[in-house]
């Protein structure tokens, strides 16, 4: 693993305890969601057993007052860490609404994405937009300082010189985009890395290399074996971290964010994780690997690892760990109740959100549907 620089401080006891609570909450909710699928409460789910530290750690490093996160379909831990309402999040797995019922703008989490690699380019566009906005602000501030612009003059940004000093003092807002080793084969991901590097966009590409893309192992998916190695080809900094170690993930993401915020461009983090269990609740991992292999290859359990670190450092005792576990179980039960209470969305919503400005055709189709169906 590439070590994180010593400029990123070690985590405080308080941060470690908060991380443990989050990891435990994610672990329990994830296990619960698999059980709900078996019980018929939700039709399907994409588990993340073993990826909790990668998701919680990366999201923990984000500043949700200004950053924006672009997830895949497997980022429940990220969503939970950001404080997204878990019932609204689970609505996607409950088949209530594609992309989730939560508001992506206020939660800073883009809709759940089913297209592998689909949202990676959005992160670049969004991040480039932050750079442009910062430059426009700076230009405007300059202009007001010198001569006030004529009334009604549009705020136009001056051309970028591409230099890192384009970032404001507080740093640029950054985009964090998630994808897997499988997604790294998609053309969009390569286009995104190239665009981001050329434009010096403040993006952190966060690869969860969980060893598998459904049944295909990384060695058959990623030529050269490491996604991080590709960053060099794009002139981009990269970090490889132990994705089972949440403190390493937080510090790596903080380092990457500092780089991106300063206007130095994108960073790629490859978090080495292992997807324990199935790819989704309809997958059968027994067809492509044995349980023995899983036990051998998975590495340290992220939740157990942090528990050990907490106990060894004296930042927490076993009472704290037990309380976190009990709270996590209770929280998962609350989410289950909420998910069970979810009803199908009113059918009229099907027509409502197609366009911001709807069409006569859609209005006609909606009223025909209303007349000819029993729903309202």
């Amino acid at each position: 693993m590439v070590p994180v620089t010593t400029q990123v401080p070690e985590l405080s006891g308080d941060e470690l305890r908060r991380l443990y609570r989050l990891l435990t909450a994610v672990r329990q909710l994830d296990l619960a969601a698999v059980a709900w699928q078996r019980q018929g409460i939700i039709p399907g789910y994409a588990p993340e057993l073993g990826q909790e530290a990668a998701q919680v750690g990366s999201a923990f490093a984000m500043d949700t007052s200004r950053d924006f996160i672009f997830p895949t379909y497997r980022e429940m831990g990220t969503a939970l860490t950001l404080g997204v309402d878990m019932v609204q999040y689970m609505a996607t797995h409950q088949a209530s609404w594609h992309g989730g019922l939560y508001d992506p703008v206020t939660t800073r989490l883009a809709p759940i994405q089913a297209v592998v690699g689909g949202s990676v380019l959005h992160a670049v566009g969004w991040a480039h937009g932050q750079r442009l906005a910062a430059q426009a602000d700076a230009t405007q501030a300059d202009a007001t300082a010198e001569t006030a612009p004529p009334d009604g003059a549009p705020a136009t940004a001056t051309p970028s010189d591409g230099e890192p000093d384009a970032a404001p003092a507080a740093g640029l807002p950054a985009a964090l985009t998630y994808f897997g080793d499988g997604a790294s084969s998609q053309g969009d991901v390569h286009e995104a890395m190239n665009f981001a590097a050329v434009l010096k966009a403040p993006v952190v590409f966060f690869v969860q290399n969980n060893g598998w893309a459904i049944s295909l192992p990384t060695e058959a998916q990623v030529a050269g074996g490491r996604v991080a190695a590709r960053a060099a080809g794009y002139g981009m900094k990269s970090l490889t971290v132990d994705g089972n170690d949440v403190t390493a993930v937080v510090r790596a993401t903080r380092e990457a964010l500092a780089h991106a915020r300063a206007g130095h461009g994108p960073v790629l983090i490859e978090a080495m994780t292992y997807r324990r269990g199935p790819h989704s609740t309809s997958d059968d991992p027994g067809r492509y690997r044995t349980l023995d292999e899983e036990r051998r290859d998975a590495g340290a359990d992220p939740v157990a690892l942090l528990a050990e670190q907490l106990l060894a450092s004296g930042h927490a005792d076993s009472d704290f760990l037990d309380a976190a576990q009990a709270d996590a179980l209770a929280a998962a039960d609350t989410v289950r109740d909420g998910v069970q209470a979810l009803r199908p969305r009113p059918g009229s919503e099907m027509f409502e959100f197609v366009f911001a400005e709807s069409t006569q055709q859609l209005t006609d189709q909606a009223s025909a549907w209303r007349k000819e169906s029993e729903h309202d």
Binding site: A133, T158, N194, F195, Q360, Q361
Partner: protein
């Protein structure tokens, strides 16, 4: 038309500080068709961005820019190169408003130099309107002359939804006046020539050809009405029906292949609304179900005056039974 489009883009950029142009060679070069000529000098390299050569990248980035509150106006250099961007257009651009329950609208106007007629190599001339019109969440429009180009582009770029703006590249060098907006519905179709015997329905470059046909037909005493459909999604079904209700006969003309083309949609709409008054089935005069041919065969493929006249003859001579 080129000048009208430049003027429209200039005004859009002046009036909307969040409007951004991005694409391959749109900046220093001013675009391969020079539709963004001079805009980078005027608005800077940040607002008229030369991107790397990757269409999916351009469209995916536009989605992200829209999420950040900008109004991107991406250009795809030639219609045939929109295919690499289709994933981002269809699975992302068209759906983000829906997926996000209206919280992430996509005010993105994608300019696509479209259709054939310039004897270009493969993929430099295609007719993708049916592909895009079929996708929920997209709107599609095509101007037929400089006046329409100016007004439709300005209107499209002010919309909160994704619009595919199909510029008929064979008409780029056509001269013509840009008049003030005529006050009609900006989403409507337009009768560009009145007649009582048959309605020719067309869009883009085919409108001018249909007007020529109407001139010739007039010499034989056939009064042809020409309807510029303008919007290919949503189609102005009422305007379409109003014209055909008057003439009782319709021929739809397009460059795209016949099968599952937009002509089928037009014919269905006309049939639904004018079945009782129609004197003949709606005729289609279109390209063939072949890949858009090379320059030498283009004239055989694109509906020409004779083929359109034959179409008119068929609806005029149609006898029931």
């Amino acid at each position: 038309m080129q000048a009208a489009l430049i003027r429209a883009l200039t005004e859009i950029m002046e009036q909307n500080p969040r409007a951004l142009i991005l694409g391959e060679d749109v900046g220093r070069l001013g675009g391969v068709f020079r539709i963004t000529d001079g805009l980078q000098q005027r608005f800077g390299a940040d607002r008229v961005l030369d991107t790397p050569l990757a269409e999916s990248g351009i469209l995916g980035m536009s989605v992200g820019l829209a999420m950040a509150g900008f109004h991107p106006i991406p250009e795809v250099q030639f219609d045939g190169f929109a295919y690499p961007a289709v994933n981002q257009i269809v699975t992302q651009l068209a759906r983000m408003n829906y997926r996000s329950r209206g919280t992430l609208p996509m005010p993105v106007t994608l300019r696509v130099p479209s259709f054939g007629g310039i004897r270009a190599p493969e993929h430099h001339g295609e007719s993708l309107e049916a592909l895009f019109a079929h996708v929920p969440g997209l709107k599609v429009v095509s101007p037929s002359n400089p006046h329409e180009a100016y007004h439709l582009l300005k209107y499209a770029a002010a919309r909160p939804d994704p619009v595919i703006f199909m510029e008929p590249k064979s008409r780029y060098w056509q001269k013509g006046e840009v008049l003030p907006a005529d006050g009609g519905s900006p989403l409507g179709s337009k009768v560009v020539r009145s007649g009582k015997h048959v309605t020719l329905i067309a869009w883009g470059a085919m409108v001018a050809r249909c007007l020529q046909v109407a001139e010739l037909a007039a010499e034989d005493g056939i009064e042809v009405e020409v309807l510029d459909l303008r919007w290919l999604k949503p189609i102005d079904a009422a305007g379409l029906a109003a014209s055909v209700a008057r003439t009782r006969r319709a021929v739809v003309v397009h460059e795209a292949p016949l099968t599952s083309g937009l002509g089928a949609e037009v014919a269905a709409l006309v049939t639904e609304r004018c079945f009782g008054t129609l004197r003949a089935p709606v005729e289609r005069v279109t390209g063939f179900d072949v890949p858009y041919p090379s320059g030498d065969l283009e004239d055989e493929y694109i509906p020409n005056i004779d083929r359109i006249l034959f179409g008119i003859q068929r609806v005029l001579e149609y006898r029931r039974g």
